[in-house]
């Protein structure tokens, strides 16, 4: 018998989206009980924590909401949901001020007292609010403190959602949660549930995002039959550290380095961006810079360890050490001197633009279930601008909290179907009883990450994607039969098995969607379709079908802005 916990609002995930949602819901009424499921430690799990550069918000002229919207749509290859993008830019300034005034965030200010905003790639104005180069730590520390002192918010630390619960009428009814420490399952019955687990493309070989993520929310939504969108759009950040043999590999060096004038050099010392985007050079959008670096590396013009160089030494060591303290230290711990010499970097898998289909009130297709942050799709289209990620999570997390507080008012608590949860728990615990032997979980995982990197990565083609689909299916089947040693309590291997399960599910959605988009746009580059489709703009949708994902396309509604007729193709590429 699974223990049951009752709550009004259940928040799955505890990054910027989850905690903003929890605080907004909790503050809407002290009578609401809010429960937050945190995969790790409160305030320290997920990727909001890892935000370096900052938070895009329009605060003063000559910047404008229209300019921020235009940059977001152009950066997104015009397949964004324009209502979501507009909600982002419209609400971001208010959220920044709320983070400061209500939760105590301490963003950098100019000597005259105004909030300091720095330049970020792909943006027409200096728009990025920050706290040094460790903005996410500031935001998450303050949000977590607020959660700690709210009497009506309960954080379940080191717990993870493993299945969404439904009632007899098919409405969302909470979730089945696994307590990592004890290994026990818990049925959380809730009147409103938020998916905010933060996506996480950890099924790729080189990653920038937090290693605790596994696209759990994406997999939960898919299994619940929800439609997802633009899953092919995976952002590769151009400047991940190259640290041979270490998990540090892929760790970001922030975008502000390029914004401040940092140069990228190939192994021959050439400033190669001149060949790919002569006008913007290193300040071009992430997708272009990442693919350019990738091209240099794969064509044999890389550094000894298979990267390119980022060089900021010409900015002056003193300035670099002052402005990018966290980055300098991150490099120094590994014997690299960012302030005085070039450092090896390479593209790294950073962010999932795609996700659950939502409306601007964070509602999903399932009554009672909401989604916000990286688990949701549509805000960023085909490519996310640096600084729009934490803006998205906090803006939409806050909205979700408000909306859920209103939604639960007067609504009866749904009754989750207990038999379904018992069955799910049984299936998820199955590897613990199985003898080890057969396939090795970590070998399968390594294979998955290689396949995704090689075939569904920065440069894709139809044949490679089809091969990847077969590979992932094979790995998924092998993974399902794996046995895990040890008991249920704090069993790292069992948790990794659950991670692998989510990762393979999400991998299949990425591949299926990438096969469907027969063009190049934003982060999605097809060697066999190198140009953007000149036809109408569309979004790729996917949901659970008969045994395999069902995929279709939907036209993009240009409700706020239209792409300029002469727009440079987003997937412009010169080299091969």
């Amino acid at each position: 018998m699974i223990e049951t916990l009752e709550t009004d609002v259940l928040v799955l995930g505890a990054g910027g989206a989850g905690l903003c949602a929890a605080l907004h819901a909790a503050d809407a009424s002290p009578r609401l009980a809010v429960t937050v499921v945190v995969k790790g430690l409160l305030g320290r799990a997920g990727c909001t924590r890892m935000v370096q550069g900052g938070y895009n918000a329009v605060l003063t002229p000559p910047d404008s909401l229209e300019a921020h919207l235009g940059d977001t749509l152009a950066g997104g290859g015009w397949i964004n949901d324009q209502e979501l993008a507009w909600t982002l830019v419209r609400e971001a300034p208010g959220r920044v001020l709320e983070l400061e005034a209500r939760y105590g965030c301490f963003f950098d200010r100019r000597p005259d007292g105004r909030i300091h905003q720095k330049p970020f790639a792909g943006q027409t104005h200096d728009r990025t609010v920050h706290k040094g180069d460790l903005t996410g730590i500031e935001i998450m520390n303050r949000l977590a403190e607020q959660v700690l002192v709210r009497g009506n918010v309960r954080a379940l630390e080191e717990c993870r959602a493993v299945e969404l619960a439904r009632d007899a009428d098919g409405r969302a009814a909470g979730a089945l949660v696994l307590d990592v420490r004890t290994g026990r399952f818990l049925a959380v019955r809730a009147r409103a549930t938020l998916l905010a687990t933060g996506g996480g493309p950890t099924m790729y070989k080189v990653i920038a995002c937090s290693a605790d993520k596994a696209a759990d929310g994406i997999a939960l939504a898919y299994r619940a039959g929800l439609p997802l969108r633009d899953m092919e759009m995976i952002q590769f950040h151009p400047t991940g550290l190259v640290v041979p043999g270490s998990l540090m590999t892929g760790a970001l060096l922030e975008e502000g380095l390029r914004g401040a004038g940092g140069r990228l050099l190939n192994g021959r010392g050439e400033r190669f961006m001149a060949h790919y985007d002569p006008a913007r050079l290193e300040r071009s959008t992430r997708d272009l810079v990442a693919r350019a670096s990738f091209t240099e590396i794969t064509q044999g013009r890389g550094t000894p360890n298979g990267g390119v160089w980022i060089d900021v030494s010409h900015l002056g060591a003193e300035l670099v050490e002052r402005s990018f303290r966290g980055m300098v230290k991150r490099c120094r711990d590994f014997g690299r001197d960012l302030a005085r010499a070039p450092v090896e970097v390479a593209p790294t898998t950073h962010f999932m633009m795609g996700g659950v289909v939502v409306d601007p009130a964070c509602r999903t297709a399932l009554e009672g279930l909401f989604a916000a942050g990286e688990d949701s799709g549509g805000v960023h289209g085909a490519n996310r601008l640096g600084g729009n990620g934490v803006a998205e999570s906090t803006v939409f997390g806050g909205i979700a909290g408000d909306v859920m507080a209103e939604f639960v008012a007067g609504r009866a608590a749904p009754r989750p179907e207990a038999a379904a949860l018992e069955a799910a728990a049984g299936a998820l615990a199955a590897p613990l009883g199985r003898p080890r032997g057969g396939a090795d979980l970590y070998a399968l995982w390594r294979e998955l990450r290689e396949v995704m990197w090689d075939r569904a990565g920065l440069v894709r083609d139809g044949a490679g994607l089809a091969a990847a689909a077969r590979e992932v299916e094979r790995l998924e089947a092998l993974g399902a039969a794996v046995g895990v040693e040890g008991g249920p309590a704090f069993n790292v291997a069992w948790q990794d098995w659950l991670n692998f399960r989510s990762q393979t599910t999400a991998a299949r959605l990425i591949i299926t969607s990438a096969l469907t988009r027969r063009e190049s746009r934003g982060a999605h580059y097809r060697q066999d379709f190198r140009a953007p489709d000149p036809g109408p703009l569309y979004s790729v949708r996917v949901r659970a079908g008969d045994g395999a994902p069902a995929v279709w396309t939907e036209p993009v509604a240009l409700t706020r802005a239209r792409p300029p007729a002469t727009a440079a193709p987003v997937a412009m590429e010169t080299g091969d």
Binding site: L41, R44, E100, G113, E138, Q146, L247, D333, E485
Partner: protein
């Protein structure tokens, strides 16, 4: 190069012990890399904690060769020759192997009113001056990642359960300097009580182990000065 990792093991109902593992290390292999390698290839049941794995979340804080360190940013090669011992943080209840219960850490923060509380009379867009001394002081102390290494290194937290410890006091300084905060008077009540600021011996262990280069010892001294001037009728 082959290195020996001497890892603390414990689970409920068992005696504490250490176990040696041999790991292959290259120049940039970290303590976390070695633990992950052990768990994946030698001993699947080893329990340890990490999340971001790049020094932002502090989840992987452990005691390495007797000193608190973040496993993800500590290279084996920087630890000298010989076996590398890894044990859980001190002064926290053990959960399993290298994993401790950090609930007391949060409790200390709560007791010192470690959350920002907006002033009721705050002007819109109230802020700490861009070039003010207070801002410079806050900036020096604010980038805490909550790893609790300073608490583990502090000799006082074990002796006095009511002592808030370095992390909570460091956070308190950033709040007492923050003109936007409305709980400063109440917080002084806690800080100037018997078991807070007055208890620190100034040994500086916390400052020595802080992976972010913060100086809780200096924060405590600053708080004492501010508190003193408040007691003497200043504005503190």
């Amino acid at each position: 190069m082959t290195r020996t990792l001497r890892v603390f093991r414990w689970s409920p109902g068992e005696a504490e012990r250490t176990r040696d593992y041999r790991v292959e290390a290259v120049a940039d292999t970290t303590v976390l890399d070695a633990l992950v390698d052990v768990q994946r290839t030698q001993d699947a049941t080893l329990a340890f904690r990490y999340a971001c794995r790049v020094g932002m979340c502090g989840s992987c804080a452990v005691v390495v060769n007797g000193r608190e360190r973040w496993a993800c940013r500590t290279r084996l090669g920087d630890l000298g020759a010989g076996a590398v011992s890894v044990r859980p943080l001190y002064h926290f209840p053990l959960l399993r192997d290298l994993v401790v219960d950090l609930a007391p850490h949060a409790e200390r923060l709560r007791r010192t009113l470690g959350a920002f509380a907006p002033r009721v009379d705050a002007a819109p867009h109230a802020h700490v001056g861009g070039d003010s001394r207070a801002r410079a002081r806050i900036d020096e102390a604010i980038e805490c990642i909550g790893c609790a290494m300073c608490v583990s290194a502090c000799t006082l937290v074990a002796a006095n359960a009511r002592f808030p410890g370095p992390a909570a006091l460091n956070r308190a300084l950033t709040l007492q300097l923050d003109s936007r905060d409305g709980a400063r008077a109440a917080r002084w009540g806690v800080l100037l009580g018997d078991d807070a600021l007055a208890r620190c011996h100034g040994q500086g262990n916390c400052t020595e182990v802080c992976p972010m280069g913060l100086a809780p010892t200096a924060s405590i001294i600053r708080l004492r000065r501010l508190g003193l001037s408040r007691l003497l009728g200043g504005s503190g």
